[in-house]
Symmetry: C2
Subunit: 250 residues, 2 copies
DNA sequence: CACACCCTAACGGAGCGTAAAAGTGT
DNA sequence: TACACTTTTACGCTCCGTTAGGGTGT
């Protein structure tokens, strides 16, 4: 049996936290006649479980319920919490990206509060993401949601750069009068295909939605159009790439 | 001039939040004789800035200060906040990873509260990461910290798998009596080098620290050793790989 | 007696949500 | 008079950190 301070050191939580858990009914140790708390090894096990659930962001009140019902409700709670965390992490990624863009604008010379414009843009682009949903079927939306957790800001930037480079390369090939069936053109086609599949994951429903989305880009909201500005793909480029991809398939 | 409700709709924040910002001195609109708040377009601009800073996680009290001093303190605040967010995102990634492992354990059959053991393990491995610091120089630590933001749980899992596969392949090559200077062995060496550089980023200081860390693995804490259990690399494998990498260099 | 440790009670903090009570007015 | 808005005041929520005041005892 341990007094509260020893137990605190042993478990790595503060004395105050133990008081708190006690008052919440989460972890109720025995008491001496004078009212001193006495913790056992079983209490230690329980505390570790509490800490584990707290670590993954489950509120203390809910933890009590989860531990009472001997763990039958755990699996559902875990997967729900995981999804919530994935979404949060995605949002944090967006916030980080927003700051990076603001910092980039700063280096480019803008010194005043116009910095924040960059961040505001990012926020608004986000709001427009909901808007883009209408192009996708229900199931496609769900799949995109699920994959979104993996989109780190670093990954997004990398993909953006890859697209910009690819578009530039295709443009160059067009200017050079490259044959769409040549090996070079087919290589471009493959890069294109890979980038698209990086988003669609090869899923036909997502692919279809993406197709609709791009086809209707004339009707995108202002913000989204501005955002897509750097990725300018002409009709000629489309034709070139689809021919190249067609040639590669044979 | 807008009344508070119109202004709220216009800007997308709630009436209550506007009250709050007013009381904090963040956004103080004009008032009618009767005390009604009247917001202007200038107020809208300011509110957008507030929302932007709030979006990236800066506390309201600090926002007031940042906006008063006409933005001179902004750059520093932005980069500080970015680093804080990157760290948080990394921690969330660990929490997500912990849940995924717990869920994997669940599918593997364990149904009781042993689920939480998995999460507890992840927490403890983390604590041991601080411990591993002593092998790295100050500058190397800083570089690792900076890169850590990019380590999503997905990436970590992928890298783990790649290591396991590589180790298995090397083991197989050893068993088959493969010559370390053969093309096959050199390919293994290249894969090895790439994985190492994925962590070190090619930085010599980090590489050095990593070397020390592995050399002293006999003295790692218990938890870390258990974690490293699956990655068992024998002396023979080391020799094989270093010969292969040496051969590839020529 | 003194020192180290224990107890309970209560405020604070971040950012509003949510009534409650009461005044205003296109 | 009634309806839609507005105002201020204040408690609630989360997880403890931090005094404050006062008992206990390896």
């Amino acid at each position: 049996m341990y007094q509260i301070q020893q137990f605190a050191q042993l478990s790595g939580v503060t004395v105050r936290a133990l008081h708190h858990y006690d008052r919440l009914g989460l972890l109720k140790p025995r008491r001496t006649a004078a009212g001193y708390r006495l913790y056992s090894d079983r209490d230690l096990e329980r505390l570790e479980q509490i800490v584990a659930l707290k670590f993954i962001g489950i509120p203390l009140k809910q933890i009590r319920g989860l531990l009472e019902r001997n763990g039958s409700a755990l699996p559902a709670a875990l997967s729900k919490q995981r999804r919530a965390l994935e979404e949060k992490r995605f949002q944090m990624g967006r916030a980080i990206k927003a700051i990076r863009e603001a910092e980039a604008a700063l280096e480019a010379g803008r010194r005043d509060t116009a910095l924040l414009k960059k961040i505001i843009e990012v926020i608004e682009v986000q709001n427009d993401m909901d808007w883009a949903k209408k192009y996708y079927s229900e199931t496609a939306q769900a799949k995109i949601e699920a994959k979104r957790a993996e989109w780190s800001p670093e990954l997004q930037e990398r993909v953006s750069r890859q697209w910009l480079e690819l578009i530039a390369d295709v443009e160059a090939a067009l200017k050079a009068g490259e044959d769409p069936t040549s090996a070079k053109a087919q290589a471009l086609g493959r890069r294109w295909k890979e980038l698209v599949e990086g988003f669609t994951g090869g899923d036909p429903q997502v692919t279809e939605g993406l197709g609709k989305l791009w086809a209707d880009r004339a009707n995108w909201p202002e913000q989204a159009q501005q955002w897509a500005q750097p990725f300018r793909i002409t009709g000629e480029m489309w034709q070139f790439i689809s021919k190249a991809m067609g040639a590669a398939r044979k």
